[in-house]
């Protein structure tokens, strides 16, 4: 164990030899971890490296099979999250535990141990959310909130309990750069006040900018402990995945073909009270081009995804044209026949059926284009071959194609869905949040596959809240804000600050209440 320093007190949290076995795999193998008071400690590793298992043991969700946890110098038995919270450990999970039918406030009240009077709690929620730049209306129903907004509930809920150790699992994936900066300020302030932070992220820049120390996991073992500021992004990545990151290769701009997707004046009313209406969304994407849609969660990305995939139809048939054909009035199946592919934001239960096998999940969107039917009957062998191709081509780590999709990890499931759509050789591919919650290795593979697809002449649309991702992968991008899409800009000429400001135009500290704001305002 590396000692933290002479003048500092002993570690707040120390784990020694923590081990957790699942059938067939050792998810955490004698892991040592030490977090000092006031330290921001990064936990770095690919999906399946054991990060989640480790923090779940610390937070009392999983009982370890071996090893010890010491809390402030004393051995601790953390039998439940409640016990963890009593010690002063808070956690913001990557997958939220929220009741959809309840309001933000009710969810906060349910998630903490001594909620007190609701009116008082509402005030505290507002205070915390305001001071940490996490705008949140306590009265709104959770089912109306986007992924990003839901995450804010989790963050606020943890901060309300004044934790001594805050575990954050990929907290920034849905925030604007400005919001990330503000969150970092908050975290640094918390750290100065003595709170330790265990910070899980795949974003190497963030870890370099924020964290004092890093523990790097690979295959359930600690492979390194380091000071991230002394490492380069590349060296961290090498430690994490044991190989150099392969970045997507973009091809030259000149090779673009005809327009494959045209969206013109697309209007779509909000589906629910707190949904976002799309207003006069227009853009087009050429063959060979990757077009990005940036924006903060809840500004119409979900609606745009559904309007493009055909899950919601437009009134005007000409609002969406796929390879020249009017498709606005068509449903998802008919659009697929025109050559559309789609990878939705939600994987479990939207892009894939968790309780069905990988083979059956191939049939879901591929049965027509992959010719998997014969007079209404499913050609099981053809479907299995298709699944096997996807598994091999996209390096889906699965023990077979008969297992349920729900048993795959997030990254592998996403590779499966992306692979299923790409192998259908779509002329137009819509991808929403392609690498959300996906480890760096899988993310790079997905980006490479999207670039390859574009290189073969498809038009690709990536809707993402991860600006770095869009800057790395797209040719042009536009920002969606309150259902209005900005004029597209060439990615190579766009600055992260400008885009961030556009994204934060409404959700930032000083809301602009100007209904007349059109796309002009965002012109580059």
């Amino acid at each position: 164990m590396v000692s933290i320093g002479i003048e500092r007190p002993g570690p707040r949290l120390q784990a020694r030899g923590l081990t957790k076995r699942f059938p067939g795999v050792v998810a955490a193998d004698k892991v040592d971890l030490s977090v000092a008071p006031g330290e921001i400690h990064a936990l770095l590793g690919e999906n399946g490296a054991g990060k989640s298992t480790l923090v779940r043991m610390i937070y009392g969700v999983l009982p370890p099979d071996g090893g010890q946890i010491h809390w402030e110098g004393r051995p601790a038995r953390i039998e439940s999250p409640r016990a963890a919270r009593r010690l002063g450990i808070g956690m913001v999970f990557q997958h939220f535990s929220l009741f959809e039918a309840m309001t933000v406030l009710e969810n906060v009240a349910l998630g903490i141990d001594n909620p007190g009077a609701m009116a008082d709690l509402a005030r505290r929620v507002s205070e915390v959310s305001a001071s940490y730049g996490l705008p949140l209306d306590p009265r709104r129903g959770v089912h109306t909130l986007s992924v990003g907004e839901r995450q804010r509930i989790e963050i606020v809920r943890s901060l309300l309990q004044n934790p001594k150790l805050l575990i954050m699992d990929e907290p920034t994936s849905v925030l604007t750069p400005q919001e990330v900066e503000r969150l970092f300020k908050t975290l640094r302030q918390l750290a100065r006040e003595g709170c330790s932070i265990l910070y899980i992220s795949h974003k190497l820049d963030e870890i370099k900018a924020l964290c004092d120390r890093a523990t790097i996991l690979r295959g359930g073992r600690v492979v390194a402990e380091c000071d991230p500021s002394e490492e380069t992004k590349g060296s961290l990545a090498r430690l994490m995945i044991g190989a150099d990151l392969k970045t997507a290769k973009r091809r030259a701009e000149t090779e673009r073909g005809p327009v494959r997707l045209t969206v013109e004046g697309l209007d779509l009313p909000a589906e629910s009270l707190h949904g976002t209406a799309l207003r006069k969304v227009s853009f087009n994407v050429r063959a060979g081009e990757i077009f990005g849609i940036a924006g903060v969660a809840g500004n119409g990305q979900k609606e745009l995804e559904l309007a493009l995939s055909g899950e919601r139809r437009a009134k005007d048939a000409g609002a969406v044209r796929i390879q020249g054909q009017e498709a606005g009035h068509l449903g998802a199946r008919a659009r697929r026949r025109l050559g559309l592919g789609c990878v939705p934001e939600g994987r479990r239960g939207h892009g894939a059926v968790p309780d069905m096998s990988l083979v059956e999940n191939m049939i879901l969107s591929g049965y027509e284009r992959m010719n998997l039917l014969s007079t209404g009957f499913i050609k099981k062998d053809a479907a299995r071959r298709f699944a096997e191709n996807v598994v091999v081509d996209f390096d889906v780590r699965a023990p077979g194609t008969a297992i349920s999709a729900g048993s795959l990890s997030g990254g592998n499931l996403q590779k499966l869905i992306v692979g299923r759509e790409i192998l259908q050789t779509p002329g137009v591919l819509i991808v929403s949040q392609p690498t959300w919650g996906v480890d760096a290795g899988a993310a790079a593979a997905i980006h490479r596959a999207l670039a390859d697809l574009a290189a073969k002449g498809a038009a690709v649309v990536i809707i993402s809240q991860d600006l770095d991702e869009l800057l790395e992968t797209t040719d042009r991008l536009a920002v969606i804000d309150r259902g209005v899409l900005s004029d597209p800009m060439v990615t190579a000429q766009a600055s992260i600050e400008d885009i961030g400001l556009m994204m934060g135009g409404v959700h930032g500290p000083a809301p602009v209440h100007d209904e007349a704001l059109g796309s002009r305002r965002y012109a580059v």
């Binding site: 009982p63 370890p64 051995p75 953390i78 199946r333 069905m356 879901l364 009957f377 499913i378």
Partner: protein, 356 residues
């Protein structure tokens, strides 16, 4: 906390099929205690309830007579349940189908011809479908919950049947009893085992179960229905026509319930009477779940539930158990089944502490 409950990563296949067996075993055990509490000697009571009906050929044939409608209806219901379409009104669709078939039979009363039975079956199926079309329309058009509408329509159908057999369809030579004329031979199902009431409906039930199994397992329609039930958003993503699938579920389950009603009046009953079903439409719901919503499982489950009818009657005669025993047994079975199903997705373990 001495126990902890964990969600399984994968459904337990073994327990999925074991849980009905567990439920039956728990029901028998509870029945044992129940009979003892009623002052009966449990062993003979259970023997008369569960075993003695199976010791004679007649008993077995009666078992099949009761199982046939249960299986026919449950197979149809299971299709809907798989797709999250909750048709609770099979009892009403059975009744309405029986009325339609009965009207055909009475209309051609005394006539002969091989076309009368098929026509009755057609009328029965269409009647059940038409009756199920009401909740289907209300659900797809206005979003009305089909559980409520289909259930409520059950009572409407029962009253309609009463009104008909007390009125226009009453047997003119029937001494004012509320029942129709006895159907003539051409409107009666052939008996497949001489000396018993076992009719063609039992064979039909088996064929229907196989056909629905093929539909659900090997066809795209079955696949779409399963996706709709497990992940509605994925069904929308795939572009499956949700409303059409809801119609298919309700029409199919309604049609099969109507067919079961037709078999009842053209088989063991032979006429229209105010009470043509001892609750087959409701019991079939239990059968569907007991059979894991799987057509072939439903065949087995139908036999088990039929035994509860026969056994109840038998135990009533032999050891004087109250008639309610049948209902209690059916209720217990469903209760235990739902309880054991919990184990398919969750595991219960002794809580362990962090090792020091």
């Amino acid at each position: 906390m001495p126990f902890r409950i964990d969600r399984r990563r994968e459904m337990s296949r073994g327990l999925l099929y074991l849980s009905p067996v567990l439920a039956v075993a728990m029901t028998v055990l509870t029945g044992f205690a129940l009979f003892a509490a009623l002052g009966q000697d449990p062993l003979p009571a259970l023997y008369h309830f569960g075993i003695s009906p199976l010791t004679t050929l007649y008993g077995v044939s009666e078992l099949l007579v009761k199982a046939a409608p249960l299986i026919t209806i449950a197979v149809g219901l299971a299709v809907g349940f798989r797709a999250n379409v909750w048709n609770i009104g099979a009892e009403g669709q059975l009744t309405f189908g029986a009325i339609a078939a009965g009207v055909v039979a009475l209309n051609f009363w005394g006539e002969e011809g091989g076309w009368i039975l098929p026509l009755m079956c057609l009328a029965g199926v269409l009647g059940g479908m038409a009756y199920a079309a009401v909740p289907a329309f209300l659900k797809t058009r206005f979003g009305v919950n089909e559980i409520l509408t289909s259930l409520m329509l059950t009572y409407v159908a029962a009253l309609l049947l009463s009104a008909l057999v007390f009125g226009p369809l009453k047997d003119p030579a029937g001494f004012n009893f509320p029942q129709s004329r006895m159907f003539t031979d051409s409107a009666l199902l052939p008996i497949i085992l001489a000396g018993t009431r076992l009719h063609f409906g039992a064979v039909a039930a088996l064929m229907i179960a196989v056909a629905v199994w093929v539909l659900m397992t090997f066809t795209i329609v079955g696949f779409q229905l399963r996706v709709l039930g497990q992940a509605p958003a994925a069904a929308r993503y795939a572009g499956f026509h949700g409303k059409r699938l809801i119609w298919i579920c309700l029409l199919m389950s309604g049609g099969l319930a109507g067919l079961a009603g037709t078999f009842e009046i053209a088989g063991p009953i032979g006429q229209l009477i105010p009470a043509i079903t001892p609750g087959y439409g409701f019991t079939a719901i239990i059968v569907a779940f007991l059979g894991r919503l799987h057509p072939l499982g439903i065949v087995l489950a139908g036999l088990v539930m039929a035994l509860s009818y026969i056994g109840g009657e038998n135990a009533q005669v032999e050891v004087g158990l109250p008639q309610a025993a049948t209902g209690v047994f059916q209720g217990l079975l469903l209760f235990f089944l739902l309880a054991s199903d919990f184990l398919v997705r969750y595991r219960v373990r002794l809580a362990r502490r962090v090792t020091e």
